[in-house]
């Protein structure tokens, strides 16, 4: 299954690619020599053509991603305030040392962890439960629900932020009106340092929950019904069927969503943080991505921003590598 993991699969194992080579080798009989021979001739004749086709994309990616990465690494060793005329001062590892000694950085790192931990249940666990629980709804009803719960996914993050700001307004917001109607005190969703981060997590989750549910429902629907039927014949209980058949077969989709949430979760919340809380109150909602932005474009400290960008990139790179390995090893496939 996992339609959703297509690009990821592509990243991990470009496995379909050797087909032409195998064809060539089969024709020439001698496998090894043959394939190398044909490969060599192809290389000679058309060496330049593929590169011409690649050129526009490569140039763009180098200019806008790879060169900037290198430049960010370079700038992380300098002190500079982004004004063209002010000098760039080489400070070696100072920026890194400063950042590691800043309580703000550790707070942001901790918050990033909270964002991810808070998002996982909304973006993975609840959708998983819903997907399994509702798998036998009639197709027509399911299509209607599908259309509705997908709406948050396509709504612009800024719009989502605006709407939730309105719904959560302490005096006039619908949510607080309901809370007051039940006789409780209104909640300052965005101004209370203890609550604000959970509000942002909730809004980020609201955007994702329908999407995750659809991904997992699709995966669940793809499970071969004869497997479930066979288990039922053997007297397996409902829970046993879920535990021993559905969950293992859903594991690759679940892992995919977990990975997306870990790698991108804190990033998705950026818009909501910027529009709704500005990182506050008292830094309570600042995560590492927002800190980068804050260093770079509020404090105008290019060095700090770049240094934390490098730290972030290496950290998340390591996590991504680890997760890819995990997915490769632990996902089941029913074909």
């Amino acid at each position: 299954m996992t339609d959703a993991s297509l690009p990821i699969r592509g990243v991990m194992s470009p496995r379909k690619r050797s087909s032409s080579r195998q064809m060539g080798s089969r024709q020439t009989g001698s496998r090894h020599m043959g394939s190398r021979h044909i490969g060599a001739r192809r290389l000679g004749a058309r060496q330049i053509t593929p590169w011409l086709y690649l050129a526009p994309a490569i140039v763009a990616l180098v200019i806008w991603i790879y060169w900037p990465l290198i430049d960010a690494l370079r700038l992380s060793f300098f002190q500079w305030n982004m004004l063209p005329r002010s000098p760039q001062l080489f400070v070696a590892w100072d920026n890194y040392a400063k950042i590691f000694s800043l309580p703000k950085f550790w707070l942001a790192l901790r918050n990033t962890g909270i964002y991810i931990a808070g998002l996982l249940p909304i973006a993975v666990l609840i959708p998983l439960a819903i997907a399994i629980y509702t798998h036998d709804l009639p197709a027509r009803a399911r299509n209607i629900y599908r259309a509705i719960i997908f709406v948050p996914m396509i709504i612009a993050p800024v719009v989502a932020a605006a709407v939730w700001r309105w719904l959560l307004d302490p005096s006039y917001g619908m949510v607080n009106l309901v809370i007051k109607w039940f006789g409780f005190d209104p909640v300052k969703f965005l101004a209370d340092p203890k609550v604000a981060i959970w509000t942002i997590i909730g809004i980020t989750g609201w955007k994702l929950i329908g999407f995750s549910t659809l991904i997992l429902s699709a995966a669940n629907a793809n499970i071969n019904p004869s497997l479930v039927e066979a288990a039922r014949m053997d007297g397996a209980s409902r829970w046993e069927i879920i535990r021993d058949i559905r969950l293992p077969l859903l594991s690759s989709s679940v892992l995919f969503l977990v990975m997306m949430t870990i790698l991108l979760g804190a990033q998705w919340s950026f818009t909501y943080i910027n529009v709704l809380t500005g990182g506050g109150p008292l830094g309570a909602t600042t995560n590492i991505y927002y800190l980068l932005w804050d260093f770079g474009f509020s404090s105008m400290s290019v060095g700090w921003s770049s240094a934390s960008a490098v730290i972030l990139f290496l950290g998340f790179g390591a996590i991504a590598f680890f997760l890819f390995r995990l997915i490769d090893r632990y996902s089941f496939h029913d074909n």
Binding site: A72, T134, A141, I149, V158, V163, M260, A309, V310
Partner: protein, 302 residues
């Protein structure tokens, strides 16, 4: 609700023990009652989820349609409607201009990314060449680079080009995307090689094979990619936020933000602007609902 279901289930499953010896007779009706009960509970779950997902959007539209003096009304259905908020929003900021900019940027980016993506994917799918695997993984890797990591160098580059506060600058960094390249390469690889070989025998050059042989067969992938790129570019916020100085050169997402100030928020116009910014996307969604969902699910998030 859940406890009810559990209890009902226990009652329903009890006879199972007794009926086991003669399984042919009774399972049918039992299964039917159980599935009907489950079905009802399942519907309940989905209806709740649907309300959670849709209500905020509904509330946005309803609030935007209330007369200016009725913004704080709480009736679920607007008692009286007016376009006051829209008129106000249109006068307060050049929102039509911003919508136009957004439309222009999203369309141009979609076309360019599909173009560069098709070319690059074709190179990967059609030829083996020195370093192809390396280049492929380098392309794939860019998918994992958060924009926040490269934002300062990108910003400096745009500044050096003298393009700050311009619509061009909002397009440039989106010239190529790993997602488009990877997805297209994947569907091109499943294209039968025999057809390509046959076209080659007929003397078709690689360029013609791409556009006349492969392209028509990639329509599905291209359409779903186009939807995806268009919607995500339309919704983009971070890069315009860095670059925009004047409203006239910015996108509608930045315009929405202008109604939320520290002094207070003009809720009615804010909801009107948000509705205007969402309408094109919602329109696409209503018309192409199935394709939109499919394209998002096919390619993951981002």
């Amino acid at each position: 609700m859940t406890t009810d279901v559990v209890r009902a289930e226990r009652v329903l499953t009890k006879p199972q023990v007794h009926t086991r010896p003669q399984p042919a007779a009774k399972p049918r009706p039992r299964a039917r009652t159980r599935s009907r009960l489950d079905g009802a509970a399942g519907h309940l779950v989905m209806v709740l989820l649907s309300i959670v997902c849709l209500f905020p959007v509904y509330w946005m539209v309803v609030t935007s349609l209330r007369p200016a003096n009725a913004t704080f009304e709480t009736s679920i259905w607007p008692t009286s409607t007016s376009l006051d908020n829209y008129v106000y929003a249109l006068q307060a900021i050049p929102i039509l201009r911003m919508l136009g900019n957004t439309l222009l940027i999203a369309s141009v980016v979609t076309v360019i990314q599909l173009f560069t993506g098709l070319l690059a994917a074709y190179a990967f799918a059609r030829w083996r060449f020195r370093g192809d695997k390396l280049v492929y993984s380098l392309v794939a890797l860019t998918w994992l680079v958060p924009f926040q990591v490269v934002m300062i160098p990108n910003y400096l580059l745009i500044a050096k080009m003298g393009l700050l506060d311009s619509v061009t600058a909002l397009i440039l960094p989106h010239f190529a995307s790993a997602l488009a390249i990877l997805l297209l390469a994947q569907s091109m690889r499943s294209f039968p090689r025999e057809v390509i070989e046959a076209a080659r025998m007929d003397g078709a050059r690689s360029w013609r094979i791409l556009w006349e042989v492969m392209m028509p067969n990639l329509r599905g992938t291209i359409a779903s990619l186009a939807i995806l790129i268009f919607i995500s570019t339309w919704n983009e916020y971070f890069w315009p936020l860095l670059l925009s100085r004047t409203p006239a050169n910015s996108v509608v997402q930045i315009g929405i933000q202008m109604f939320m100030t520290t002094e207070g928020t003009a809720w009615g116009p804010l909801m009107a602007a948000s509705t205007m910014a969402s309408l094109p996307i919602l329109f696409i969604y209503v018309v192409l609902q199935r394709q939109v969902i499919q394209s998002f699910m096919k390619s993951g998030i981002r």
